[in-house]
């Protein structure tokens, strides 16, 4: 790695690139450059992640003791609600697509920008406006409905700031819709000459599939939130059982978006995995087309399984069976991906740089997260474990173990491209290890807690659950350190890191063929693509272009 740092230290300052093309706050707030917008998102979601993390700290502190003595139950309810809202809507959903996707998709397909740069900027402003509403709800008293807003609690019984938080999510939802729309059009219409669909990097395929969900699912969330808003403001009866409304109908509408939303989070992260594993094995991803189509299959099947959140809600037994069998079907493409990634290592040339460590971590955690999903799809077992810590552990393995490992892995992989600088490898490896260990210590005990029967969203709990909760809280503090480390060394590297050069990992893909940081229009010349994204073998004979 250190051998790659050969260029003169001043060159970043001499050369014009997207970071130094213009200065001043206005040049950032009015930029239409997808790379700068990606950085705007990067800083905003880091802020929301920190906030969501702070709420997580409070949760784990409260659960150290069974008594519920740190805060009142009302405060606790607000804390876990805000943890969920911040993490789901303001960190996990935008995490990989809005930052890495925004930065990389145009570069990976050899375009100067996304199809609609102004819309891209507007998406960021919508996202921030949504965040402001959500924060307003926190500052003026908080919201205690859980991130799921189940009616009639959220519409009639809760006395907290439901409306501003719901509006915040609504507005952030439009940001997501426009981002997805932008990506789909870009992938369809902006590919460089010669870049056929089956030469596309799998990261692009994965983001494309996630965009389909954003575009098709988010509008349903939007209208659902509007109906909740109307119900709460005017008591019009749509979800109020006393007026003939049906609270279960709300759950159907909510999960119609919110289950596919999990795939909005995980698919882009899976895309990152394909890039990392191929780059650090110096091999094409095993079974490229199967990995590509499995992303689309997940996006399609993902729309048909929402009812598995409602096995004990009182929906019909036969509906539950259909949703259960479909949930098993959606598990298959995920399994196919994991097998293909594993097989990619076979006869590869594997190196253990930081991004690859995150990829290993992802594979481990995602495997556990995915397999425990089988428990939840199993009707008879789900009845016991639903709404317990088993579910909490499962979705954290997917969302935190899967999404954040992919997000951090991708961030480390493309950091030299984004900033033109290298981070300290030793620290980075340490943080990957700490995150992995801390994560498992935090969430594995929760599987046990869940099967023992500890319900989620409990402020106080029976004493026999304490030891496992203490383990979980201890793990969370380690995990917290793991997250803080990259914050420091990545910021440090932006100023003091050694220069990276255009392609420090000697990876393929168009984004590595331009300078780091890239020029404002990404490429000095529009590339003409003659080979697929993972042409490691062709490249060993031919010297690297660009």
């Amino acid at each position: 790695m250190s051998t790659a740092v050969a260029t003169a230290p001043e060159s970043i300052h001499r050369r014009r690139h997207y970071l130094n093309a213009d200065y001043g706050i206005r040049s950032w707030l009015f930029t239409t450059d997808h790379k700068r917008i990606a950085l705007l998102y990067l800083f905003s979601i880091t802020f929301f992640f920190a906030l969501g993390g702070l709420f997580a700290v409070l949760i784990r502190l409260e659960l150290l003791t069974p008594a519920g003595d740190l805060m009142t139950s009302d405060t606790y309810n607000k804390v876990f609600t805000m943890h969920g809202i911040m993490m789901v809507f303001f960190f996990l959903i935008p995490s990989v697509p809005a930052t890495l996707g925004n930065f990389l998709i145009p570069m990976m397909i050899g375009a100067r920008d996304l199809a609609f740069p102004k819309l891209n900027l507007a998406s960021w402003y919508l996202f921030m406006a949504g965040g402001v509403f959500a924060l307003y709800s926190v500052v003026t008293g908080g919201i205690d409905t859980g991130w799921t807003f189940y009616t009639p609690f959220s519409t009639t019984y809760s006395n907290t700031k439901v409306i501003p938080a719901a509006l915040g999510i609504l507005i952030a939802g439009f940001s997501s819709i426009f981002t997805g729309l932008n990506f789909i059009v870009t992938v369809h219409r902006m590919r460089a000459p010669g870049l056929t669909w089956f030469r596309l990097p799998l990261f692009v395929w994965a983001n494309y599939a996630a965009s389909l969900i954003m575009v098709l699912g988010t509008p349903v969330l939007a209208i659902t939130i509007i109906l909740v808003f109307l119900e709460r403001a005017f008591h019009i009866g749509i979800f109020d059982p006393r007026l003939g409304g049906d609270p279960i109908l709300f759950q159907h509408l909510f999960w119609f978006y919110s289950h596919p939303a999990v795939y909005i989070m995980i698919l882009p992260s899976m895309g990152v995995m394909s890039e990392l594993i191929s780059a650090f094995s110096r091999k094409r991803v095993f079974g490229y087309s199967f990995v590509a189509f499995s992303s689309v299959a997940i996006a399609v099947f993902g729309f048909l399984v929402w009812g598995h959140h409602m096995f004990v809600s009182g929906q019909s037994v036969y509906a539950a069976m259909v949703f259960s069998i479909l949930s098993y079907l959606v598990a298959i493409p995920s399994a196919v991906k994991v097998f293909n990634w594993t097989a990619t290592l076979y006869k590869g040339s594997v190196s253990y740089q930081t991004p690859m460590l995150y990829a290993f971590g992802f594979l481990g955690l995602f495997t556990i997260g995915g397999l425990t999903g089988l428990f939840l799809a199993a009707l008879g077992v789900d009845v016991h474990v639903t709404d317990t810590y088993f579910v909490v552990a499962h979705f954290h393995y997917i969302m935190v173990g899967g999404v954040i490992m992919g997000y951090l892995g991708g961030l480390h992989f493309w950091w030299p491209k984004i900033t033109g600088r290298l981070y300290p490898e030793g620290w980075a490896k340490l943080s990957a290890l700490v995150v992995f260990l801390g994560f498992n210590l935090t969430f594995f005990p929760q599987f046990v807690l869940g099967y023992l029967g500890m319900p989620r969203r409990y402020h106080a709990y029976p004493e026999e659950f304490q030891v496992l909760n203490v383990m979980s809280s201890a793990g969370a503090s380690i995990l917290g350190v793991g997250y803080l480390l990259p914050l420091f060394y990545l910021l440090w590297s932006m100023r003091y890191g050694p220069e990276a050069g255009p392609n420090p990992f000697d990876a393929r893909g168009l984004e590595w063929q331009t300078a780091s940081p890239p020029p404002t229009h990404n490429f000095e010349q529009v590339p003409i693509v003659q080979e697929e994204a993972y042409a490691y073998h062709a490249a060993q004979e031919v010297p690297v272009a660009g």
Partner: protein
């Protein structure tokens, strides 16, 4: 490649991250269609809710529907279909470069849209006067019920029982939510068309570049189609009473 880029570059509407004018047009067309798909899903959520409750509470919904003004609703349907025609003619005028006709048809479309909203406002105000707006002052009295029974009996319907105040209110909640959301889309459409009319007058659009007119047309037709579904669903339930067993 670079040549075509340079060739397109002279057009004032060309955005330089595209290669050619053609690519720009294709991209924005696809974007517009995707946007309309999100709109379909947005309204789709409400239609789902409506259809579920209509199925459960048929009599109440029929009774509520009967109080809507069929004449005004039908008139508005004709107005909107007419506005779709003028909109299509506006797009055609833009395509053929007839600037004055374009402006005229855009203004006509705006006028028809405004007429629709005006009639809608009249309908809403009737509902306010009759206390049919959901909320504490909601009323659905014996008079409305008798009217419904007469009508249903005349149609030889047996589904006259089971009218419930809460369920009728649910009908009106959905009526206001759906027509309100539709009206909001109309207002936005009129705003967009006004800007287009202003720009057309200044000669911004030409047979080479009239994409914004085309997209506004797509949007306008979409909003029309939503109404084509809303009208029978909301106004014509009672026409259904007779055929139900």
């Amino acid at each position: 490649m670079q040549d075509s880029h340079a060739a397109a570059a002279h057009h004032p509407a060309f955005q330089h991250h595209f290669e050619t004018m053609e690519q720009q047009r294709e991209a924005s067309t696809l974007g517009m269609w995707l946007f309309l798909i999100t709109e379909i899903l947005f309204f789709g959520g409400m239609f789902t809710v409506y259809l579920v409750y209509r199925n459960w509470y048929f009599a109440s919904f029929a009774a509520g529907s009967l109080t809507l003004d069929l004449t005004l609703g039908a008139f508005n349907t004709v107005v909107l279909i007419g506005s779709s025609l003028t909109m299509a003619l506006a797009v055609h005028s833009a395509e053929t470069g007839q600037r004055n006709l374009l402006v005229a048809f855009l203004l006509l479309t705006i006028l028809l849209g405004a007429t629709f909203l005006g009639v809608k406002a009249v309908e809403y105000s009737h509902k306010f006067e009759e206390h049919h707006v959901p909320g504490p002052s909601f009323r659905f009295g014996s008079e409305e019920l008798r009217h419904f029974h007469e009508e249903a009996t005349a149609l030889r319907s047996t589904q006259i029982h089971g009218v419930e105040l809460g369920e009728v209110q649910l009908f009106f909640s959905l009526y206001f939510a759906m027509t309100g959301m539709h009206a909001l889309h109309m207002v936005i459409g009129i705003g967009v068309l006004s800007v287009l009319a202003w720009k057309s007058r200044r000669g911004v659009y030409s047979p080479e570049y009239f994409a914004p007119v085309e997209y506004a047309g797509l949007y306008w037709h979409f909003v029309d189609i939503v109404w084509i579904f809303l009208f029978p669903l909301l106004y014509l339930i009672t026409r259904h009473v007779g055929v139900h067993p």
